[in-house]
Amino acid sequence: MDFTIDAEQKALVKATRDLIGNVYDSSETRRAITKTDPGFAAWEQLAEMGLLSLPFEATPVETSLVAEELGRVIAPDPFVEAIVFAGGLVAAAGSAEQVEQLSESIADGSTLAIVAWAEPGSRWGTKASAVTFADGVLNGVKSPVVQAERADVLIVSAATADGTGLFVVRDGYELVTQRTLDGSRAAKVTFSNTPAEPLGVGGDKEAALALALDKARIAYAHEAVGSMQTCLETTVGYLKTRKQFGVPLNTFQALNFRAADMYVALELARSVITWATIVAAEETSTPEAIAAAASQAALQVSVAGRHIGQDAVQLHGGIAMTAEYSVGHHLARLTAIEHLIGDDAFHRARLAETMGDHGVLDPIG
């Protein structure tokens, strides 16, 4: 059991932090960028740094470290969506030819790949039914699909005679794009006899989709840790400097205690989420073990994320309600992450299915 990271990983963290902190040097910069299309600005630099090639060459540890850094400034670049999730899915399920074809253009930033898996009303289920594949074309609707408008390639899950298949689509679909609550974009994607190429050899790919999604959940959870960390730091800084009634806010014990409780929640969440990455990175881990770890991590995101995000706003007061200030955007992003990866009820129910199988839960057994 070892939670430490090595020198190379430390360097990765530092380089990512420097790069991303430079692009999003303030909450106002980030806000201005999200108001123009496509709503993110660090993509080329992330590519130059080699971070977009991670799904093809590195372990979940590296992707999680990068995601956590992006989370600190809630960088709107779709790193987890396009690289960890879509890139990871291509790497895991694509044919050798597809991997070769896509990996280079994903890694250099020229191709943005997005997984279109969610279906209206499906509540995080991975079994496809709203889009069907037959005779080489797709028909149906996917929603919400984050950053679909900017996507060069969609990886679409669809019902086939053999189960849930995965398909590469480059064109021939319609989009209705909406702003998301965290300043990003998501679309309803409608396929009408859209030509599609199977990812990999065909057949039922639901297990591959679910595993890639679980790994993405863990990376999202690290984004959330980074965001929660910023919420806490910002709140502590505000309590120290902001004066009310002629004294700094940290004169008020009740406020300090709530900051202390935020710290407790953050450290506990960090432990579980980091452990989940370690489980995902371990070669001997089964998909079931990774799914369980992803759900444990997601549950922490939900419970700690609401607690920390809401209290960061409350302890700031009115200023936190303004778009000019940072913590409200963190609350929005934490809320969005939770609804991307599944909320507490979803993950509790998923964990409940196997909870009776063990007595004591042994995280390092």
Partner: protein, 371 residues
């Protein structure tokens, strides 16, 4: 003890319910029910319908449009109005500046302002909070220095809700900067927002909407006859006003309506059973709030707000937020682009404004528990 409303109050409730659901157009109420943005035009239209029927400012003195109702009747009026999705009469007019003018203003100032205030011919804004005075209102620094028959106002106000629509603004200003205590030397002044030197800057909120504003005052000249009551007594008027504000803030009717809408939505989405326990728990808490508001209203002496109103403020805001959080969860992944998510973000304000919940806890600990 008696369960039902008296026959009289029951008839009163029916009358209110019928009026609100038949005389206020569905088109207007749907804006509220669907949590869409209320435009100025719609709010004015709604309030003028109410005012024409004598239902806009029932708590005012009867000679200025009040109705002489009991506290319980006012509670029923308010709850039915919210349940029906009728936009509330603009609080700055109906609950804030109106009662202050009616209670502390001269006859001349009453005649000049109250009818237009009730009918929202004047849209009032509130100029209380300042950038360095959030919960600590008394530390305000905007000055009004007398210069002949005018005050010259300099400074900045913030969190001025819907100030972008404002015709006039009622202000707390410092008229005596040398007063020994911070609460002294503050006056209550009315300012025409078209006066030169007054600038309004809308502030974007985290849900992308524009609700609050900064208002800047650069040598704004205000006739002395726009002072309400006595000079340097403004803090007393402000406390009176804030007490009124807290009473209506529980939002019981709105929260009940929202919860019932979420129940319907959960049924539509096929997740009613999954959320049943959480809905039951919230319904139990909303019931407790509803009954406590009724208890306070039914037992309250006329006039002064019950300190228990702090309970209503705390729990009312927490439940507004909890129901909006439930609404987001019921939506599931679609919450990403749903207006329920924006409402969830927006409602974080309810535990901050109108005296934050920390301020309310301080009131309860001090005033009620003697701690």
């Amino acid at each position: 003890m008696r369960l039902h409303l008296s026959a009289e109050d029951q008839a009163f409730r029916e009358e209110m319910r019928t009026f609100f659901t038949t005389q206020v157009p569905q088109r207007i109420r749907d804006v509220v029910i669907n949590q869409e943005e209320l435009t100025k035009e719609v709010m004015v239209e709604a309030q003028q319908i109410l005012n024409a029927a004598g239902l806009a400012v029932p708590a005012w003195p009867e000679e200025w449009g009040g109705r002489g109702w009991t506290q319980l009747q006012r509670h029923i009026w308010h709850e039915e109005l919210q349940l029906a999705g009728v936009p509330e009469p603009l609080a700055f007019n109906a609950s804030m500046v109106g009662p202050v003018i009616a209670t502390f203003g001269s006859q001349e100032i009453k005649e000049r302002f109250l009818p237009k205030t009730a009918n929202i011919d004047i849209w009032w804004s509130q100029g209380f909070s300042e950038p360095d005075a959030g919960s600590d209102l008394a530390s305000l620094r905007t000055t009004a220095i007398k210069d002949g028959d005018h005050y010259v106002v300099n400074g900045q106000k913030t969190w001025t809700t819907l100030g972008q629509y404002g015709d006039w603004i009622f202000m707390l200003v410092r008229t005596n900067p040398d007063a020994p205590k911070r609460q002294q030397g503050i006056s209550f002044l009315l300012i025409d927002m078209t006066t030169p030197g007054l600038t309004v800057r809308p502030i974007e909120l985290i849900d992308g909407g524009f609700e609050v504003n900064e208002v800047f005052f650069d040598n704004v000249r205000v006739p002395v006859e726009n002072l309400v009551g006595e000079e340097n007594k403004g803090w007393d008027y402000a406390k009176f006003l804030l007490g009124n504000e807290r009473v209506g803030i529980a939002r019981v009717g709105s929260t009940k309506r929202h919860l019932s809408e979420v129940k319907e939505r959960a049924k539509e989405l096929g997740v009613f059973d999954q959320f049943a326990e959480r809905i039951v728990e919230l319904e139990n808490e909303v019931l407790a709030l509803d009954l406590t508001a009724l208890r306070v209203a039914a037992n309250s002496n006329e006039g002064r707000p019950d300190p228990v109103s702090s309970v209503l403020k705390i729990k009312g805001s927490v439940l507004t937020q909890a129901v909006s959080e439930l609404a987001v969860d019921v939506e599931g992944p679609d919450a990403l682009t749903d207006h329920q998510s924006l409402a969830y973000l927006n409602y974080r304000k309810t535990s901050i404004y109108g005296g934050s919940n920390e301020i309310q806890r301080t009131i309860i600990a001090g005033t009620i528990l003697g701690l």
